[in-house]
């Protein structure tokens, strides 16, 4: 298929003048050592942040690394290479054996996950430029109601499913296309995406890291890995005194309250609800599969081949009388329209199948989330939610035990109040 290549601006029209058009040249390939440098910086930053969060318990250190990440991975490397986007490369490689993944992409995709398995989401804390940027703009955090927080977090799971569908089917990298912060790092981009990014930052002044919490598909994977991490953020360096001072210290709603009042035996209503949700789980999955099948046809339209085939079909049937750049280029080339239609039909089918899987995934995730909410855990202490904690180290200094450890004045603490 011929590529439709257009100069950013039309070249001068009159070749009879002495003006010579510069010959387009391909930019040189980036030196390999710079790629290795990126990987080295990533690993060094992850080690440093993990140490700062888990050993030094230093918020200022985390902020310092965050500023570095924004400058290096953000403004210097223009937001690319990016761990969030690497999901797509890895997905495409999984479903397309001819697609190769560069070492840098592989490292940026897997190393933060590996660190999350051992140290929690220290990547989110300060290494990810997207997260670090949002962390820096958080000035006056407001608490998002629990019901809203939990339900909005589902968006990230859905986004992850869609991103994998599009990447696996060759339809494009939607995470990159709709990345809100890369246009800011590059000082260039479509007005819509710039406005989206700026809006997220403005919202982020009050709502802690809206992109990380509610949209980031990589955060979902990191959360899963972090939930079984060996070492984790502990709010108190000693024993929790149930003082509740840390209760509102997390700007991201990632502190689980103690549940000392939980009944020793599950109540009958809770049992019934649990059984109902267990029954509902396969229904949600089946519903997701059905809905995925419905949406698959539309998602397929985002693929350039399917889109072109649909356009040509409209032109062939006379439903439209003009042509697009793509359809004109196709017609000018040595291309078979029936081959295109056949390719488009195959892709369409692939999208429908992938969308069904995505629907099943969404049904499963929401079903499991409902189940997890139905289970009352018997916590004795205030704990960081392992999956949602972004390891920002904000909560440490809300704990009087921590202040005592640091030799700082300890405020008067109220008696444990559990209702």
């Amino acid at each position: 298929m011929p590529q439709v290549v257009a100069q950013r601006f039309p070249p001068p029209q009159f070749t009879e003048t002495s003006h010579l058009l510069p010959v387009p040249t391909e930019p040189a390939v980036r030196a390999l050592w710079l790629d290795y440098l990126d990987i080295g910086v990533l690993i060094a930053a992850l080690v440093l942040v993990s140490w700062l969060v888990l050993r030094r318990r230093s918020r200022s250190g985390v902020v310092g690394v965050g500023i570095f990440s924004v400058l290096y991975f953000g403004f210097w490397r223009k937001g690319c290479i990016c761990s969030i986007g690497s999901i797509q490369n890895l997905s495409q490689a999984l479903f397309d054996s001819s697609f190769g993944v560069p070492l840098t992409v592989l490292a940026f995709g897997l190393v933060p996950l590996l660190f999350a398995l051992f140290f929690g989401r220290t990547f989110c804390a300060a290494v990810c430029p997207h997260g670090a940027l949002q962390d820096l703009v958080l000035l006056k955090p407001v608490k998002v109601p629990n019901w809203l927080d939990h339900s909005l977090r589902m968006l990230a799971w859905i986004y992850l499913g869609l991103a994998v569908v599009f990447a696996a089917t060759g339809g494009g990298y939607i995470i990159c296309q709709y990345d809100p912060f890369v246009p800011i790092f590059r000082l260039s981009g479509s007005l819509t995406m710039v406005l989206f990014g700026v809006s997220l930052l403005v919202v982020g002044i009050f709502v802690g890291r809206p992109y990380c919490r509610f949209l980031c598909p990589y955060g979902v994977l990191l959360g899963v890995a972090a939930s079984v991490s060996k070492w984790r953020v502990r709010i108190t360096p000693d024993t929790c005194t149930q003082c509740r001072l840390c209760e509102e210290s997390c700007a991201f709603g990632a502190i689980n309250k103690s549940a000392v009042d939980a009944p020793s035996q599950p109540r009958a209503t809770d049992k019934r609800r649990l059984i109902l949700l267990l029954v509902l789980l396969p229904v949600l999955i089946a519903g997701g599969i059905g809905l995925g099948g419905l949406a698959g046809g539309t998602l397929a339209g985002k693929h350039r081949i399917v889109n072109l085939a649909e356009r040509l079909q409209l032109e062939e049937s006379g439903a439209v009388q003009d042509t697009t750049d793509a359809s004109a280029a196709f017609r000018a080339g040595n291309n078979s329209i029936e081959t295109l239609y056949a390719d488009a039909r195959a892709l369409h089918h692939r999208y429908v199948v992938a969308a069904r899987w995505c629907g099943a995934w969404i049904g499963l995730v929401i079903g499991l989330k409902l189940l997890s909410l139905a289970i009352v855990r018997r916590r004795t202490d205030y704990e960081a939610d392992q999956a949602h904690c972004l390891s920002c180290a904000r909560c440490y200094r809300s704990c009087p035990q921590e202040l005592q450890r640091l030799g700082l004045p300890v405020p008067e603490t109220p008696k444990p109040a559990n209702g």
């Binding site: 601006f9 029209q13 009159f14 000035l139 006056k140 629990n146 019901w147 939990h150 339900s151 968006l155 859905i158 000082l187 003082c243 509740r244 210290s249 309250k257 009042d261 949600l284 519903g287 997701g288 809905l291 419905l294 949406a295 046809g297 998602l299 397929a300 339209g301 889109n307 649909e310 079909q313 409209l314 032109e315 062939e316 049937s317 006379g318 439903a319 009388q321 003009d322 042509t323 017609r331 000018a332 040595n334 078979s336 029936e338 081959t339 239609y341 488009a344 039909r345 369409h348 049904g363 929401i366 989330k369 409902l370 909410l373 139905a374 405020p411 109220p414 109040a417 559990n418 209702g419």
Partner: protein, 577 residues
């Protein structure tokens, strides 16, 4: 820190935060305003520039217009790059100031930070927390509902692709034999495009007024420059106007209009191509394989109909942009309908459609500026070749897969005469220059090879050559008829008719007929010397090529389809409707 310096620090950071915040808002607003002006995209989106470019196409020599375009182009470029620079500098400044704002705002926040007061929050309420948990469950479940609504909503805009072609039943595939094709007249200028029928009865003369020599005469409802084709007792014709493309079947014996079918493409749209009056909307001649009739019109609507008039398939092969209007007739080889669409160097192409389904089997781009000539399918050394002409190439393709067999450079001008094939040579007309014979058994680019012969005698500009293997007839637009030896290119004789001609000569047995644009037919002997046999008038203009048949001659004139025979009753028969 001393209280005074503490106050200064506190007030200072607040002032910096406010000042930088105001700057950010103002600069952001300015950049947005700048963007809204559209100056950055002005160069690529300037309607004025597009308008001037279009004007330049009409007046390519207008120096003043060129100067205006240059001036506007330069101005737009300058604006565009200036605004880009402003945007970039503004955004850079915003990033720096945003850093300052955040640093000072964090300082202010830190100074004003208060310790949490759990006592003020009151005691925890397990019942309320339990209720919140339930509410959260409902909210999460609602997300599934949102996703469901989104999925159903998007499904309304699902992609609609053409259905895969139905498998063709083996029994339905039967290709007519060469003998059957020769016995009939299945395409423009006959089976192989030679304009020749071995056994035929071309009447020497007739009289429209008295009806002598006219077996029947039937009105054709819609106009068209296309010629009739015949298969057994069915005559097919096309006609069109701005609203309809129509295929007609006439009874070849009695002249009745058996059926007329208006094509219906899937989108039920009727693109309106720009055509010249001389070309019209139905210039291409249809083709048949004895099972179906295939027709194409100026708007690229191409269709297959069965012999009962039922449309089998119909499609539009994309918008055409032909300066005179599409005129190339269809060709057929086995189950391949061959469509030559020469419109311009970037868009000329040759397409093969499956005759049963209309499904595209192959497509090749053609390096052709444009042409109005029709392709022919011939057998060369027992292998099929699809011969095409267009400026500047004669190209031969394998009709099975579209692969190119050979090509010869050198055609120029606006090419309307179709090629002919005889004795292993392809005869092509190069209007205004020469007629040449190209050996058809080569491969690759044969441009440097010498033609078998070349002559500048009587080179046609519109009508196509006719050849019976012994004699090659060439007819120029202003009436010079030349008879050549197809083997050597030697002119046997020539004769000048004081008339204008578009239609091609037709050879039937030992007679040849040519018809002028005014509708005057000349019949002469198919011999090595010119021997005039008769001249008759149709009373209507004529651009179509006559169809000689075993016992008569079919001829499409401006408004009527005629069946002419050597001896006929005096009274004109009006066919029963």
């Amino acid at each position: 820190m001393k209280p005074l310096s503490q106050t200064i620090w506190k007030q200072g950071s607040l002032a910096v935060a406010i000042a930088s915040g105001v700057f950010l808002v103002l600069m952001g607003g300015l950049l947005l305003f700048n963007q809204a002006q559209g100056k950055v995209a002005g160069l690529v989106q300037s309607t004025e520039l597009v308008r001037l470019h279009n004007e330049l196409r009409q007046r390519p020599q207008d120096e003043e217009l060129k100067q205006r375009i240059r001036k506007l182009d330069l101005q737009l470029r300058q604006n565009s790059f200036t605004e880009l620079r402003i945007s970039h500098n503004g955004a850079s400044a915003m990033i720096v100031v945003a850093g300052l704002f955040l640093a000072s705002a964090h300082l202010v926040r830190k100074q004003r930070q208060k310790l949490p007061d759990p006592l003020a929050w009151g005691p925890r309420r397990p019942v309320e927390e339990n209720r919140t948990r339930l509410k959260t469950q409902y909210a999460v479940a609602a997300m599934f509902g949102v996703a469901a609504v989104a999925a159903v909503g998007t499904s309304l805009q699902a992609v609609r692709l053409p259905s895969p072609p139905a498998p063709v039943q083996a029994a339905a595939v039967r290709f007519p034999t060469s003998a059957e094709m020769r016995e009939n007249w299945p395409a423009f200028r006959g089976f192989d495009g030679s304009g020749y029928r071995e056994v035929a009865a071309i009447p020497a003369a007739w009289n429209v007024a008295s009806g002598q020599g006219i077996r029947w005469k039937t009105e054709v409802p819609l106009p068209g420059m296309s010629s009739p084709i015949r298969w057994t007792n069915a005559l097919f014709l096309t006609g069109a106007n701005a609203q309809s493309n129509v295929v007609y079947r006439f009874d070849a014996d009695k002249g009745q209009l058996v059926w007329s079918t208006t094509l219906r493409n899937p989108g039920n749209k009727m693109p309106e191509p720009k055509v010249m009056e001389d070309t019209g909307l139905a210039a291409p001649t249809p083709v048949t394989d004895g099972q179906r009739i295939y027709a194409i019109f100026a708007n690229a609507e191409v269709a297959a109909l069965d012999f009962s008039g039922k449309q089998i398939w119909c499609r539009i092969l994309g918008p055409l942009d032909n300066p005179y209007g599409h005129a190339a007739s269809l060709a057929i080889y086995q189950d391949r309908l061959l469509v030559q669409l020469d419109q311009g160097e970037a868009t000329s192409k040759l397409v093969a459609l499956n005759t049963s389904t209309g499904q595209e089997l192959w497509r090749v781009a053609r390096p052709i500026v444009g042409s109005w000539a029709s392709p022919i399918v011939v057998e060369v050394e027992a292998k099929p070749q699809l011969i095409t002409c267009g400026e500047p190439w004669v190209i031969s393709y394998n009709p099975l897969d579209g692969s190119e067999l050979w090509r010869v450079n050198g055609l120029g001008g606006e090419l309307a005469p179709s090629p002919a094939y005889t004795g292993g040579k392809v005869i092509v007309c190069n209007p205004g220059s020469d007629v040449r014979a190209i050996p058809a058994n080569g491969s690759g680019d044969l441009s440097t090879n010498l033609a078998a012969w070349k002559t500048d005698a009587g080179v046609p500009a519109v009508s196509s050559p006719a050849c019976d293997g012994q004699r090659l007839y060439l007819l120029t637009g202003d009436g010079q008829l030349s008879c050549l030896d197809p083997g050597s290119g030697q002119v046997k004789w020539s004769h000048e008719f004081k008339d204008d001609f578009y239609s091609s000569p037709a050879i039937g047995g030992n007679r040849v007929i040519i018809v002028s644009r005014k509708g005057v037919a000349h019949v002469f002997e198919n011999a090595d010397q010119f021997h005039d046999l008769g001249q008759s008038e149709l009373g209507e203009n004529c651009n179509a090529t006559p169809v000689p048949d075993r016992q008569c001659l079919y001829l499409r004139a401006g408004k009527h389809l005629f069946c002419l025979e050597e001896s006929a009753p005096v009274a004109v028969k009006s066919p029963e409707k």
